[in-house]
């Protein structure tokens, strides 16, 4: 990173940390929700942006994480045990979802992951004995010490930073290089001895684990979960988040999540026109800035 970038990131980190001081509960809730989306988005960015796979089923993993956390915490498990459980379960399911990617690519893979999302949504809705069906699960506790909204925000924010560091480490490691090689040209990567199968599966599994962790934080944040937030629409929103910010750019999901979480709030004055405006903005962005908002500086430098 250049000096300017370090300054911008540092200033943003401090500004976000100070933001709750001037916000009411709802504002703090939104900020925490942003952190949750960033965690999930970073995972999806690894799968889609860095490893070049396609996924329209990311919300299903957030759902698996959220339901795992909710069910286990209602059984009395501590948040600290629930968190690795949610991550591991999603990692395992992500490995399984990676298998179609070994056979199909692009839009075929998109449909395979889409099918997975629909399947999981139906599971959350219909298996009442486990998930509470459409009534959902309420009274999900927060970890002790962090149960007030401000404290829970700082807890989530800190965890997001830890996950961001983990992602940065992965990207800078030989794994990250292998993911990039897989994205750019799998045949070339194979000629160099990159284990295509292992890295494709890992790309899904690690991305899913990030989503599972996000799900656990989400369950504790809203204290009540039901199937709707894990529908196909949410998966599309998450994909949009990554693409709007800048797919394959480290800070893409951070910016994308801010837009997806905050823009609807700011555009609320437009009432019913809000979705129209949002849709138009996305269409315009895809036409003029296919590399996402974070590609603007490069565009300006080249111009």
């Amino acid at each position: 990173m250049s000096k300017v970038e370090v300054t911008i990131v540092g200033a943003a980190l401090i500004a976000i940390a100070l933001a709750p001081l001037g916000l009411k509960n709802y504002g703090i809730y939104l900020l925490t929700l942003w952190c949750v989306y960033v965690m999930a988005g970073m995972g999806l960015n690894l799968t889609v942006g860095y490893a070049g796979q396609m996924s329209i089923g990311h919300a299903a993993f957030v759902g698996i994480g959220a339901y795992t956390a909710a069910i286990l915490m209602k059984l009395g498990w501590s948040f600290w045990l629930v968190l690795p459980a949610a991550a591991l379960l999603c990692f395992a399911v992500g490995l399984v979802l990676g298998f179609p990617a070994l056979r199909v690519q692009h839009h075929y893979l998109a449909f395979a992951t889409l099918g997975f999302n629909v399947l999981m949504f139906l599971f959350f809705r219909n298996e009442e004995w486990l998930t509470g069906g459409t009534f959902g699960i309420s009274g999900i506790p927060r970890p002790p010490l962090f149960d007030r909204s401000g404290a829970y925000f700082y807890f989530t924010y800190g965890s997001t930073l830890v996950l961001a560091l983990a992602l940065a480490w992965i990207i800078r490691s030989p794994w990250g290089r292998a993911f990039a090689a897989l994205r750019d040209n799998p045949i070339r990567a194979e000629s160099l001895g990159v284990n295509i199968m292992a890295y494709t599966l890992l790309a899904f599994a690690i991305g899913a684990a990030f989503a599972g962790i996000a799900g656990a934080y989400f369950a504790s944040l809203v204290e009540f979960i039901e199937p709707a937030p894990f529908s196909l629409t949410s998966s599309l929103m998450m994909l949009l988040m990554v693409i709007v910010g800048g797919s394959g750019r480290f800070f893409g999901p951070m910016l994308g999540a801010a837009i997806v979480v905050l823009l609807p709030e700011w555009l609320r004055v437009m009432k019913d026109w809000y979705l129209v405006m949002f849709g138009l903005a996305v269409v315009a962005l895809m036409i003029w800035l296919p590399g996402g908002l974070l590609s603007i500086p490069e565009r300006l430098r080249r111009a």
Partner: protein, 241 residues
């Protein structure tokens, strides 16, 4: 390490056979040049040897040991490296990261190996932190070869190294391959720039319709008056004089 093809049959689908009981040998420490018209099976032979295609029948041996049907990763472990045709770098990654990818199968010692390669290619060292796509065509080919050399291969398979390079740079690449062969590396090369390549090769194999049609020492073939016919197509059978 010697390479031996024994009646290898291979192709891209059950109905599309390219190698048609191809048999040949390439000797250790020599540059063996594969030439022939388009579709004769030159590149397919390299891909089959490297494990990107599985032979339907026949056998491929390295120093007498059968390697038919092994994966590219296993071939790399056997000491076989492959530089495919065209651009093979990851253009968005830096030169250094491209080199690191070349050593992804190494358990340790990557730093020393990279240093070893950079000592051979000073121009690559100067561009170490640049994006690979910003390198000139010649530099990119050097980086590709350097990346393959990271594994200190005993066999180097190289497909049309001179494509897109100026004659001067092509000569440089051929000279480099000659140095490697003289140091003991077995090189199997496909090249359309036949006259130039023959100057640096030891032996030439002419393929036709997936079979070996002719095998000659490179120097001898260089003086063949009908040389162009051998790779433009047409029979290699001499007319009775």
């Amino acid at each position: 390490m010697a390479i031996e093809f024994r009646e290898v049959v291979a192709g891209y689908s059950p109905t599309l056979t390219i190698l048609n009981e191809l048999s040949f040998t390439a000797r250790e420490g020599e540059i063996t040049l594969l030439i022939g018209p388009n579709g004769a099976g030159k590149s397919t032979a390299l891909k089959t040897l490297f494990g990107l295609l599985t032979p339907r029948s026949g056998d491929i041996r390295l120093d007498g040991k059968s390697v038919a049907g092994t994966t590219p990763r296993e071939m790399l472990a056997h000491g076989v490296a492959f530089v495919p045709q065209g651009r093979n770098l990851f253009g968005g990654l830096s030169v250094l990261h491209n080199l690191e990818l070349g050593g992804i199968t190494l358990k340790s010692g990557l730093r020393e190996r990279i240093e070893e390669v950079l000592a051979r290619f000073p121009r690559i060292r100067e561009r170490l932190h640049n994006q690979a796509s910003t390198l000139s065509g010649g530099e990119q080919k050097q980086l590709e070869i350097g990346r393959a050399l990271l594994l200190r291969p005993r066999v180097l398979l190289i497909d049309e190294p001179s494509i897109g390079l100026s004659p001067l740079i092509s000569q440089e690449v051929f000279r480099l391959l000659r140095t490697l062969a003289d140091a003991g590396t077995t090189i199997l090369m496909v090249e359309q720039n036949v006259r130039s390549a023959l100057n640096f090769a030891d032996r030439a194999l002419v393929l036709e319709m997936g079979r070996l049609a002719l095998e000659r020492p490179a120097g001898e073939l260089l003086h063949e008056p009908d040389l162009h016919r051998l790779f433009l197509g047409g029979s290699v059978q001499r007319k009775p004089s």
